[in-house]
């Protein structure tokens, strides 16, 4: 025990040996790699897609209605002659924005609520009853009801979904924080005379970030699905603004004549959500020791 490996800038505090192990585990984790690649690809298309389309997502071209996929209109055109690829790309902006905002908002709210509930007993009793009440509503149903009350608008989708998903995040944070709270080092801090602030925010909070990140990933995916479903039902993003859900709704009435209006936006949703879920699953394998696949 004379020499020590240099510390890594990427994973501070980890010796080079551990860092390379960590990197190897990320690289060997096919799920994270697949999920990450899919998401990067989608992001890239969302960014440069608008440059590749023959016309914008709102430009109607009645003579060229319902054209099947071709070299000019990669995904075909819809019943107004709008380029479907342009609309799907534009829809991706809405979906990713909604998904990301909801994941961010729910993480913030969920972290605070979950930690407070885990640490203060009285607050816990009240907060948990309220969260239980909220969780008795199926997510999409509550979202529909809130949208009906608030009015159909893209910003309201974010509000509704954040309201619906926050309890799920708070639950995860609370239960991880409760586990951490039982650890002896928390008792030790109390014995040293540490303040509640120090115990909760300096010592417990960093320990719940991994489960929070994993949960946020899944909320991201769920928000995209739910936004699509809401828009499909006419309770989400209002037309003419394109969203994957309302494109699918238009496609449904034309399912016998224009299969492309269902298949392309549908496959896009599938691919994005699949990518996120792969990433989330992989992250869980990496970060959550209970799910280590190899024992011993």
């Amino acid at each position: 025990m004379t020499s020590f490996a240099p510390r890594s800038p990427l994973f501070p505090g980890m010796t080079a040996d551990r860092r390379s192990l960590q990197l190897r585990r990320i690289r060997n984790n096919s799920q994270v790699m697949t999920g990450g690649s899919i998401l990067l690809l989608i992001l890239l298309i969302a960014l440069i897609g608008p440059l590749l389309t023959p016309s914008g997502p709102y430009e109607t071209d009645t003579p060229n209605r319902l054209l099947p996929p071709s070299t000019t209109n990669w995904f075909g055109t819809d019943n107004f002659g709008r380029d479907l690829f342009a609309r799907v790309v534009s829809g991706s902006h809405v979906s990713l924005m909604v998904g990301f905002s909801v994941a961010l908002i729910t993480s913030g709210l969920g972290l605070v609520i979950g930690l407070v509930a885990a640490y203060f007993k009285t607050a816990d009793r009240i907060l948990m009853r309220i969260l239980d009440g909220f969780m008795a509503f199926p997510a999409i149903l509550l979202a529909i009801a809130i949208m009906a009350a608030l009015g159909v608008q893209t910003e309201n989708v974010i509000v509704a979904l954040s309201l619906v998903f926050t309890p799920y995040v708070a639950r995860v944070v609370r239960s991880s924080a409760l586990v951490v709270k039982e650890q002896t080092y928390i008792e030790s801090l109390r014995a040293q005379g540490a303040s509640a602030y120090r115990v909760l925010w300096v010592n417990i909070a960093p320990n719940v970030l991994s489960p929070l990140l994993i949960q946020a990933t899944f909320i991201f995916a769920d928000s995209i699905i739910t936004e699509a479903a809401l828009s499909f039902l006419g309770a989400g993003v209002p037309p003419p603004e394109p969203s994957w859900g309302n494109i699918l709704f238009d496609g449904k009435t034309l399912i016998f004549s224009a299969w492309w209006m269902t298949v392309f936006p549908g496959l896009t949703i599938m691919l994005v959500v699949l990518g996120i879920n792969f990433l989330g699953d992989g992250l869980r394998d990496l970060l959550d020791p209970r799910h280590k696949s190899i024992r011993k």
């Binding site: 009853r129 909220f134 509503f137 999409i140 009801a145 009350a149 699509a228 399912i255």
Partner: protein
């Protein structure tokens, strides 16, 4: 056991109270006047006033709440200004198709997912396991309405085996009933199946790695006895929980799938009400489903107590 059940029922009161408040507030988070919003911009001021009067929107909030709650407790969910009938009656007439669809989907999910999860756990790391788990990720990633559309495209538009949409009640014959419900049930059950399969697999894996399984193996028990007697009873507990917890999303999913397949269930009632902004009907439907969810989970809690002797003690 009786005390255990009573306690569980007692624990529901605060949850139901929160549910009631949330449902009640739906009418009141509307920006502007709920009555005006419901009737739309073309309505006359007199009509709006009349509806506001009827909904009691002029009273102070807490009086409205207790008036509404009193109604709910006696089975009066109000009257829809659009349907011209009571909300309770409207819900009742739309209940049948939704129940049929949800039960069928849940059955399909459990029958497929539990064996799949067990097989995957027992063959952990093999191609079978990876294949099953790949499928479950796919299942979780394809929302039910999308899967419904794909299924229609494939089996109704392409192969023309099954009807595109519509519904036949059980009274029209079981085969006919199922012919119309098969695709919707598949669409609705697949995500549920994926969730249950993953839960089954992971709880089986937890149990298979436990010390009592080692004791069982050291006793000389066969793999079969170990898996189906010792492991399954333990692993079934979390699976039961996941069935209960996802029941709500199943029913809610039914609402979406009904729209895809034009099934005249509660879902379609809700969606039509959203278009009309018929908040009274939406309140009633949401309340019904939330209460059903709470009751289902009560039953699951009690089952849990029967299956796991440790639960009643703590």
């Amino acid at each position: 056991m009786l005390i255990f059940v009573l306690k569980r029922i007692g624990a529901l009161v605060p949850v139901l109270a929160v549910v009631a408040v949330v449902v009640f507030l739906l009418m009141h988070i509307t920006p502007g006047d709920a009555a005006a919003v419901m009737l739309g911009p073309e309505a006359s001021a007199a009509d709006v006033d009349a509806l506001r009067q009827e909904l009691g929107l002029n009273d102070p909030l807490y009086i409205q709440f207790f008036g509404w709650l009193g109604g709910v407790l006696t089975g009066d969910l109000g009257t829809s200004p659009f349907l011209g009938e009571s909300v309770a009656a409207a819900l009742l007439s739309h209940l049948g198709p939704t129940l049929s669809l949800a039960i069928l989907a849940e059955l399909f999910a459990i029958l497929v997912a539990v064996p799949a999860g067990i097989i995957a756990a027992r063959r952990r790391g093999t191609l079978i396991d990876q294949g099953f788990m790949g499928l479950t990720i796919l299942g979780i990633s394809v929302p039910s309405f999308l899967l419904g559309l794909f299924l229609i495209l494939c089996f109704s538009v392409g192969l023309r085996w099954l009807p595109v949409a519509g519904y036949q009640p059980l009274s029209a014959g079981l085969v006919e009933h199922l012919r119309y419900l098969l695709l919707p049930a598949l669409a609705l059950g697949s995500m549920q199946a994926a969730l249950i399969a993953r839960m089954t697999r992971s709880s089986m894996l937890d149990v298979l790695g436990s010390n009592y399984m080692k004791t069982g193996k050291a006793k000389g028990l066969s793999d079969f006895a170990l898996t189906y007697k010792h492991a399954f009873k333990n692993a079934s507990l979390p699976v039961l929980t996941v069935v209960g917890q996802t029941f709500g999303s199943l029913v809610a999913g039914a609402a979406v799938v009904e729209t895809v397949f034009n099934i005249p269930g509660i879902g379609q009632l809700i969606i039509n009400s959203v278009d009309r902004r018929d908040l009274v009907v939406i309140q009633g439907a949401v309340l019904l489903i939330a209460v059903a969810y709470v009751l289902i989970n009560l039953i699951i809690d009690i089952l849990y107590g029967l299956l796991d002797p440790r639960v009643q003690v703590s």
